[in-house]
């Protein structure tokens, strides 16, 4: 049985009050949900929280799911919206607490995030330390965090979640051509980092 058909069967059962079916759906999608959120929000405890909230939303709104798109598309839409709300909230919190946090040196994470927002800073530091592939992988992972929001979301959905462009367009509400442009730019950024790394070695 295809994954989509299995999902549809589980959803029908959940709609009829079958809690075991919800357990199966949870088991099937929990890892994907958690790692997807982790790639978009970076903090493990927040990713866990968001992924769990995603399942709560699925359960609460399952009667509204008509199956026009696949469950997977619907679920990613829920998770993506949760991650976007999370970023909006953090942006506002950081904005209003910025001076206070910086003065008292309490928000180290924000300092880190500000450092990360300067794309090439880690390359300017000490290139001799970046001597193997593991370090390059880490560098690329960090570079992903500095991508603009839409590029990061689309690259994550394509590269890690292995979704089709058409599915990503459905999840994000963007045209397929726009999705391709964001993906192209994200990959080009990664290429640039790889190139700079090689030049510095």
């Amino acid at each position: 049985m295809e994954s989509k058909d299995l999902d549809q069967q589980l959803i029908e059962k959940i709609k009829n009050g079958d809690q075991a079916a919800f357990g199966l759906l949870l088991e099937k999608y929990q890892q994907r949900a958690y790692y997807f959120c982790l790639r978009l929000v970076s903090r493990p405890e927040d990713a866990e929280d968001l992924a769990q909230e995603g399942f709560v939303k699925v359960f609460k709104n399952i009667s509204a799911f008509r199956g026009a798109a696949s469950f997977q598309t619907w679920f990613y839409q829920i998770l993506l919206n949760l991650c976007r709300s999370y970023h909006r909230h953090r942006y506002l919190v950081n904005r209003f607490t910025f001076n206070f946090s910086r003065r008292d040196g309490e928000d180290e994470e924000m300092e880190q995030s500000l450092e990360n927002s300067v794309p090439d800073q880690s390359l300017d530091g000490n290139p001799q330390r970046l001597i193997n592939n593991e370090e390059l992988k880490l560098l690329l992972e960090e570079a992903l965090q500095t991508l603009p929001r839409q590029q990061k979301e689309i690259f994550t959905l394509k590269h890690f979640e292995e979704l089709k462009i058409s599915e990503i367009a459905g999840i994000t509400g963007l045209a397929e051509g726009t999705v391709k442009i964001h993906l192209f730019r994200a990959v080009r950024r990664l290429q640039e980092i790889l190139k700079e790394f090689k030049e510095q070695r």
């Binding site: 949870l26 890892q31 958690y34 992924a51 769990q52 990664l190």
Partner: protein, 158 residues
Amino acid sequence: MECKKIQSDLVNYYYQELAGSARSAIARHLETCNACRQTYVQIKKALAMVAKEQLEKDKSSAFWQDFQYKVYRRLAAEEASKSWWRDLLVPRRLAPVLAGAVMLLLIIVTSTRLVKNGPEMTSSDLQLAQELELIENYDLIQDLEILENLPEAEQLRG
């Protein structure tokens, strides 16, 4: 010009988003064009470095059990809060009792006010009451009673 178009499609080619003639056209071009082939190799290398499996190995089964437990706990909390609100907003079973209690309360409040304040009297009402009191106590009334009981009066009535 052709190279520019090809290079803009290399990411889609890598992710196998192109099919049919578009895909085979790029494959043919890569065999002959060194520059585009180099670009494609760079794309492949960069994307290969962004490892998919890097994150997926770091969680134990205990973590996932705990994850599920937390989801169910959230759902239970959600359900409990929903029931609480429903009972508060739409108390179907308690509705008649609640309505009765409200009516009773209204009656108590209204009657207490009436007893406490009584009906309001105007100045003309007061004057009339005083006059009636005066007439009731008048001696003439008693005298009239005596006259009524006289034998002559009884004869006249008979």
